[in-house]
Symmetry: C2
Subunit: 336 residues, 2 copies
């Protein structure tokens, strides 16, 4: 296993330590729970924003703890949910008297533990709400949209929810607008090479030479089909077909675009994908609010990418364009 | 070849198109030369900053065209220098009457073409200077420091030179401080998996299972030795040994730290490396000004990483901490 690690059982802790070593003025870890906390509290009390999930997705989740994004991230083992007790401690730590909203992905372990943490915090008198991302079209048909997994759409959820909290909205307002962003977000991904989980040393899935998995999940979950490699344009056109049809996105809509690399796919290829995405959006007369291209939510060294579109209204646009400043996600205020 | 491309001969052009499609308000391409230009000129005339080199290193070079960084990047084919004529056209385009400084890496093709472009521009009455990064310790012994290749240290060169130009310094002052930053920058990298050049479909080098190349270059150039995989801590300690000894960096110095992923190495591992780097710097009582961890200068999907340290003085610190805003490198003003 060609990995730059020490003890496979200490990968998450040592990586987290290296993260705090890199940004000691920005983040800290709770003494008794693996929860990363934003250090500089805003001057006016705001609703706290917490996320969390399994490790192996950097820059998610910890990279999004910062100004205009999340105030805390509970960090599980690789591809495993963080314990409820840690999430609860994170909620307690970041509550400023206006409640805490949990923004996480639709995975059973995360749901169970975030809800247990919510119950514990409510006993302490903290108001807790949640919004759950379910943007991955490939993981369940449209009739069972509630069963869909989360993929890179979580990033847009954090951006919108984090900006709403930073603006001073109350917890109900944040839940409303963030839920609306989630409902209007769709993703679809393809994978070409698996990742290797440090603890097992084994590939997360198998593909033949020249084969790709359409609709792959962020943990290597199978998608809808295995197909022979196609050109970037054909692959992108097929993905965009699924995405545009599902919401549906249509003539006159405005969208944010996120082309997310899963880990090992060069940025060069992601921009080739974006070229085709742009062409297709122009053909359908769908306007682009903003485009993000890069590694925003990875699966270790998995190769492949996903496309995420969010249909935006005026309020969601404003929140997406707002300033954000975490170690892994920096954006100057684009509303000016 | 599992790549998201169309025609292998159009990879660079299509990727560039996708880049401009993503950031149309920020950058544009010259009509008659593959040079990316910053769109929004500063209100006060400043010295122009141009870089360039072969493709395949994204976010370098084009990702660093923006405020407080470079004004133009001339873009060659994959791992091949851009033609002199393009560089010349870039220089002409960005000159605001205060001259243009060329900040590039120590590769023979780039040197030849940048110098030819310099000569052409000087005939037109444009003052042109250059600073050449040569930060890769492994590429040549200390006695022949002039022969060393550039690797991720170029990023620090652009940050310092770009900030100096944005401050309004004249071309001689920029050359002086940027040269000083380059002289005080040292890098060392290791590679574990090759990249595949689209045009050939072949790996850029060969390594046995469980083997890594110490001192690998950004194009897969051989380093000083092939060794069996070691732990992250042992690998990092050995790299840091070479780096600290070479300048040398010593007790009381302040440094910027750049842990650069070559393409396919997960961020998780880069932070494990940073943990050890931090421990070693603390042991030697070397202070950290700032830490960058991520993919700043890649080699397509090559796996591995490099460590870059720059010894900083007060002026270089101020320039490194200054605001920068390009699509791929955003930093809020940290001098405030």
């Amino acid at each position: 296993m060609k990995k730059f690690i020490n003890d496979p059982t200490k990968v998450v802790d040592e990586s987290l330590q290296g993260y705090v070593d890199a940004y000691p003025d920005v983040v800290e870890v709770l003494p008794d729970a693996r929860v990363l906390i934003r250090k500089n509290k805003p001057s006016n009390p705001k609703v706290g924003v917490i996320t969390g999930g399994g490790s192996g997705h950097k820059p998610a989740f910890l990279g999004y703890v910062g100004q205009g994004l999340c105030d805390a991230a509970a960090i599980g083992e690789i591809f495993a949910a963080p314990p409820a007790d840690w999430i609860y401690k994170g909620i307690k730590k970041i509550d400023m008297g206006r409640g805490v909203i949990c923004l996480y992905g639709n995975f059973s372990g995360d749901i169970m533990n975030f809800r247990m943490a919510k119950t514990l915090a409510e006993v302490d008198g903290i108001e807790v709400e949640e919004v759950i991302a379910k943007d991955d079209i490939a993981s369940s048909p449209r009739e069972n949209i509630e069963n869909r997994r989360a993929v890179a759409g979580e990033v847009i959820m954090w951006k919108v929810g984090g900006a709403a909290a930073a603006e001073g909205m109350n917890i109900k307002e944040i839940k409303e607008v963030t839920s609306r962003a989630v409902l209007n977000t769709r993703s679809f991904g393809v994978g070409t090479f698996p990742c290797i989980i440090p603890a097992t040393g084994k590939p997360s899935f198998k593909l033949e030479d020249n084969e790709m998995e359409f609709g792959i999940g962020h943990h290597g979950e199978p998608g809808i089909k295995k197909v022979q490699m196609k050109t970037a344009d054909d692959t992108t056109a097929e993905l965009m077909g699924y995405i545009l049809e599902d919401l549906p996105f249509k003539n006159g809509d405005t969208v944010s675009v996120l082309i997310n690399g899963l880990g090992a796919t060069p940025l060069q290829e992601l921009f080739i994908v974006n070229r085709k995405v742009t062409e297709i959006l122009e053909k359908y007369k769908i306007k682009k609010l903003i485009t993000y291209v890069g590694e925003y939510f990875t699966s270790l060294e998995m190769a492949g990418f996903s496309i995420t579109l969010t249909k935006v209204d005026q309020e969601i646009s404003r929140l997406i364009l707002a300033k954000a400043d975490s170690p892994m996600f920096k954006q100057f205020d684009l509303n000016k």
